[in-house]
Amino acid sequence: MAKQEITYKAAVEEIDRILGEIEEGALDVDELTANVKRVTELLNICKQKLQKTESEVSKILKEEE
């Protein structure tokens, strides 16, 4: 999925930014739901990614010798 393409760093930064805005009261209540949704999504992406193994463990490249 496209949403999987986001890096941990970008995800955490976005969460941080949104959190900052919410904490500062910069967000309208109207936007709150959308933001909660987004943050939740980002958290989920990160969590899922953490558990995911891209390829089989110990795929060995034996080009040597």
Binding site: I15, I22, V39, L43, E54, I60
Partner: protein
């Protein structure tokens, strides 16, 4: 003529005897192990050399032997004490008997090796490598790289068959948090003479796929504690230091750091420790996510609560403010009502007072004017009396004065004072010239007349 000669064996026997005489006791010798092999019986055969300090040319060379019983003991003592393997390339201080065998020739029979010499030499070598790295300015390069918070894509450089590698994979894959790792093994020989070259070659292969990895892990699959020399080489250190992704080492030694450890981004004691380190790193990130989530939930709840409170406050404010507003306006209206009462009363009173004042003023002015006029009339009357009296008095005075003047001028009065009037021929004589001698004069006095005749005329009074 045949010169005097001896057999080779006699010569060799003589050499042996001479050598036994020359080197009755064992001597301590410094040499470098050039070659070394152990035969089936466990005897160790070496070739010792000495290189020129200036050009590394071999300036001396000897065979040496350590008999198997001695070798087992010496080797384990040496390796455990020095932390380095007894192998070609290292310098050693050996205690050796110089022996000469008629068949095998000169050989050194090693009875002891002093590991402290080798240790000193190794330490010196290590210092030299460090100095070179520092000079090149690359010592800190790998350490300065940033290891991602979530190192999941790992390039492992290890011997596939090593126990340490198994430990590493086991710990990583079976982590209790279910974190996923993608591990790629780049096999390398991690011990022995060819280790350094092999590791460098593996690193080069990782380098080709640099972007696919978060970190490179260099682990040594168990093996001898002493077999660490390959990790102290300048060449490997340079490769690790300048490696574009963080290199983690888990070489599996306890005593001291290898140079590879020193230049690596992070060095850990064992492969398992490296795996734990990686798992911990992910755990830490996972914790960060949890904290973010918690903070987020808390913040959102707090915001909503706060907004609820604010709205309630505003609802209460509107009640309060409108009540205040109405009260204030009511009061203002009341003030106006009072004001109109007061002001009107004041205005009417002022007008009333003004009227009373004007009325009083009228009376006062009138009386004043009237009194004034009356006084004026009286004074006019007095003036009339006075004027008339004065006028009459001055009339009388005038008459009296005229009478007095008249009285004084009357002829009878003049005559009575001794004057007389002289007539001649009925005319009043005023000059002697009017008369001639003999004229009859009639002189009138106050009480009668006298008749006389002129006798003489005298003009004495003529001027």
């Amino acid at each position: 003529m045949t010169p005097e000669s001896i057999t080779l064996s006699s010569l060799n026997l003589q050499i042996r005897n001479a050598m036994q005489e020359a080197f009755p006791d064992a001597v301590w010798v410094i040499a470098e192990i050039h070659e070394m092999h152990i035969n089936r019986s466990g005897h160790c055969y070496m070739e010792l050399i000495e290189k020129s300090e200036t050009d590394s040319n071999i300036v001396a060379k000897n065979r040496a032997t350590i008999w198997s019983s001695r070798f087992r003991m010496l080797r384990s003592y040496f390796e455990s004490t020095s932390g380095t393997q007894l192998q070609p390339g290292i310098k050693v201080l050996i205690k050796a008997e110089v022996s000469f065998h008629p068949v095998y020739g000169l050989s050194l029979n090693i009875s002891d090796i002093d590991p402290s010499y080798t240790m000193g030499d190794l330490a010196m070598k290590k210092r030299e490598v460090i100095r070179q790295l520092q000079e090149a300015g690359i010592m800190e390069m790998n350490r300065e790289l940033v290891l991602t918070d979530v190192p999941q894509r790992i390039a492992v450089i290890s011997s596939e068959t090593a126990a340490g590698y198994g430990d590493f994979i086991g710990t990583l894959v079976n982590n209790s948090y279910g974190f996923g790792f993608s591990v790629t093994l780049f096999p390398a020989i991690v011990q022995g003479e060819s280790a350094e070259r092999s590791i460098i070659a593996a690193l080069e292969r990782v380098f080709l796929a640099e972007r696919s990895f978060d970190a490179a892990v260099l682990i040594r699959g168990g093996g001898s504690q002493a077999d660490l020399d390959c990790f102290n080489g300048y060449e490997l250190a340079m490769n690790i230091a300048q490696f574009p992704i963080p290199v983690l080492t888990g070489i599996g030694h306890e005593r001291d750091e290898t140079i590879a450890d020193m230049v690596a981004h992070q060095h850990l004691k064992t492969p398992t420790a490296v795996a734990e380190f990686l798992v911990d790193r992910l755990l830490e990130f996972s914790g960060l996510l949890d904290r973010l989530q918690e903070r987020f939930s808390y913040t959102v709840e707090r915001i909503i609560q706060q907004e609820n409170h604010t709205l309630a406050q505003k609802a209460s404010d509107i009640q309060h403010l409108t009540r205040q507003y109405v009260t204030r306006e009511n009061h203002a209206l009341e003030v106006y009502r009072t004001g109109i009462l007061t002001s009107t009363a004041k205005l009417l009173k002022a007008a009333s007072t003004n009227i009373a004042d004007q009325s009083g003023k009228l009376k006062y002015l009138w009386k004043n004017l009237h009194d004034h006029r009356k006084r004026d009339l009286l004074s006019m009357k007095e003036r009339q009396h006075r004027t008339i009296a004065e006028r009459l008095r001055s009339g009388h005075e005038k008459i009296r004065q005229a009478e007095r003047s008249l009285e004084y001028l009357r002829p009878e009065k003049i005559l009575s004072r001794g004057y007389s009037i002289t007539y001649s021929n009925g005319k009043i004589v005023k000059s002697v010239k009017e008369l001639e001698k003999g004229d009859t004069l009639e002189t009138r006095m106050s009480d009668g007349k006298v008749q006389s005749t002129v006798r003489e005329l005298d003009y004495t009074n003529e001027k």
